[in-house]
Symmetry: C2
């Protein structure tokens, strides 16, 4: 569960937009959508995004340079994320699997090193596109 944070004005505006979006949003699409609310510059968007990622309210889909709201209430550790991405329609779904997250958190590399932070992106076809 996330530590509660009071979002600032810009953070709240941008989080609300991403949270309402059915698909991941790109930074400049966000910018375009919040210009009527007074957020005029890319940096204002990126700063809010950085903070929202940091506190775990949103995640970045690295392979797509896009952002989605976190809907994974069982998420114990921020920055331990897994997604499925449809290669046809680009639908992205956050995966919340206790088994998967335990497996990855306990995975040891050949030096015996464990990692609490990771990002996993699965690629395939979603139900609709199959």
């Amino acid at each position: 569960m996330h530590k509660e944070h009071t979002l600032t004005k810009n953070q709240q505006i941008i989080f609300d937009l991403i949270d309402k979006s059915p698909e991941p949003m790109k930074a400049y699409s966000i910018l375009f959508n919040v210009q009527k609310k007074g957020i005029k510059a890319p940096l204002q968007v990126y700063r809010a995004l950085d903070k929202l990622v940091e506190i775990g309210k949103i995640h970045k889909i690295e392979s797509r340079n896009a952002f989605i709201a976190c809907h994974n209430s069982s998420c114990q550790v921020a920055n331990a994320t897994a997604f499925s991405i449809c290669e046809v329609c680009e639908k992205v779904t956050e995966i919340s699997s206790v088994g998967l997250s335990k497996y990855l958190a306990n995975f040891k590399d050949k030096d015996g090193m464990k990692y609490s932070k990771y990002n996993l992106e699965f690629f395939g076809l979603c139900k609709k596109c199959r």
Copy 2:
């Protein structure tokens, strides 16, 4: 194991450079390094990179926008990749774990869907930086 491909001139030049590099290389760093060999434009680099990724000779580190040569000879499926990334020195190592790749290839999401393609990036501190 990779299907053998004969690389074209540009692909070979760029692959050799990445292959020799001890760390992931970024596209414009590659461009700078191959200009003396006649590759002058970003697009020439990106086209070679796209092809090299497609045939599995290199991988893209998505969170870093950088490319490394594949040294994972046990890699059965191109585009099923795992890396560890040091958050201090940015050292990147490809992980070749049969257990991990089997686990991920057999992982089923809540719809019962399996994925043969994935990209996993672990973040932490490398041996040196620990």
